[in-house]
């Protein structure tokens, strides 16, 4: 039997609209990812990153291609991944505790049992004293932490994180990046991470995928050399600076390709 990739995205294409107005969101997109790896996806706005995530999450069907996890197709099968978006999407009428166990209770787990299971993650994310609060009583960083714990509680080995820290201030973002690295390494999660921040991608990832737009496609795939966990100091290593330069240049070219005045 051939050596099978953990996550395989093969020949994925998706168009929106029809006839002359049809827009190719992604075209013939393929990559693989091994178990326990952290892959960041960078690309200009509108390059199809979120479409890719929606297809992997089983929320949207592609026009062609397939996505498999351990050889099993994920197409239109929601619930196979832990999906976290830029907005925390906490249910405002539920307490933090009831928000973080939402996935468990949807699958019939008793509340008390689900809470017991969630407590270590809540503690690791510094939420143990806030479990009885409502989301509007939390800061932006605390809300994102609660959303992260909720995503972890899905128990899914593959996490899709769509710009989860995009709306946070620099300090809070740094804390959450450290927390995410720590949690993912301890729990051996495989992560797909969308970001617009090159430093964030270099800090967190094992691999970085650069996407171009119109149509959305892969223009580079980097395997980062440095072992994790990384620190801000690690980012100053010559090889990472070199990669950062290349990524910035690729992104710049991609933006200028569509808008020469940018």
């Amino acid at each position: 039997m051939p050596n099978q990739a953990y996550l395989r995205v093969a020949g994925l294409s998706k168009r929106f609209g029809s006839g002359e107005n049809a827009v190719a969101a992604i075209e013939n997109l393929s990559f693989t990812l091994d178990e326990g790896r952290f892959l960041s996806i960078l690309g200009p706005s509108g390059c199809g990153k979120s479409t890719l995530f929606n297809i992997i999450a089983g929320l949207m069907a592609p026009d062609s291609g397939d996505v498999t996890l351990n050889g099993e197709s994920m197409l239109l099968r929601p619930g196979m991944t832990g999906y976290m978006l830029q907005k925390d999407l906490l249910l405002p009428w539920r307490t933090v505790a009831d928000n973080i166990i939402l996935s468990q209770t949807l699958h019939g787990v008793r509340r008390s049992k689900a809470l017991d299971a969630a407590l270590p993650d809540a503690r690791a994310c510094g939420l143990e004293t806030m479990l009885r609060r409502r989301p509007d009583e939390l800061s932006g960083g605390q809300r994102q932490r609660a959303a992260l714990v909720r995503t972890l509680q899905t128990g899914k080995p593959l996490l899709l994180l769509d710009e989860p820290f995009g709306a946070l201030d620099a300090i809070t973002r740094l804390h959450l990046q450290e927390l995410l690295t720590d949690v993912c390494m301890k729990k051996d999660k495989t992560v797909l991470f969308i970001t617009h921040d090159v430093d964030e991608a270099l800090l967190l990832s094992d691999e970085v995928l650069i996407m171009g737009s119109q149509p959305g496609r892969i223009i580079a795939h980097y395997h980062l050399p440095q072992e994790k966990p990384r620190t801000l100091k690690t980012l100053a290593l010559p090889r990472l600076i070199e990669i950062k330069g290349e990524i910035m240049q690729l992104l710049d070219q991609e933006v200028k390709r569509h808008d020469p005045h940018a």
């Binding site: 619930g79 999407l89 249910l91 949807l106 409502r134 009583e137």
Partner: protein, 264 residues
Amino acid sequence: MTRMHKARPLSMLMINAWRWGILLALILLWEAGSRMGLIDPFFFSSPRQIWDTAVIKWQSGQLWRDIAYTASSTILGFLLGTSIGSILGLLLWFSRRTALVAEPWMIVLNALPKLALAPVLVIWFGIGFSSKVVLAFLMTVIVSIMSAYSGVQTVDPALSTLMISLGAKRRQIFTRLVVPSAMPSIITGLRVNIALAMAGSIVGEFIASDRGLGRMIVYAGTTFDLKLVWVGVVVLSIVSVLMYAGVVLLERLLMHRWSARKPE
């Protein structure tokens, strides 16, 4: 030089003192005007005469029976109209097609003056209790459907996406996302609904009834017993205020459960 004005904290004690003070002053002015001949006591009665008439009616048991009759038809109509209307409005979430077909019907039915149906309903359901309940029900049900449906339309699509990504079934999205999201809209409609239900019951009693505060007012008016008319108006106002207060309490209890923020 700009002068900073500091807002003084409002004392609830002072506000309540003003509220009750105005009421007391109006009653005293009314009574004094009536005794001094500034107001015709035949047409406007006086607080003292209203009180005496109310005491006589209370002691005979008639006033209490009328209050109970009107209050129970109002509450029953309100509960049936609000709950059935809200459930129907919420269920529209399941079928966009049904909702689109129903929308113009809801607008037409809401605009229809339901009180104009009172004579027909009295013929259909008789002069007894049921015609009053049906009228109170009709007054509230369409408003409740519309409130619940507008609440359903406020559901954040991103939250629906999240629920689907977590593997939630359609029924679970309805019970755990749609219903709670629509609750503030439904709860906000309660205050309006209790007033509408009361209007329905009273008009039903005006048309034809053998009991109730509405019947008491019509009967007293036709026999020129204007003191009793005023008793009816005052008692009806008190009953309305008590029901409104009850709904506000219910609203607070429900909001505590469903609103984003815990009440202070």
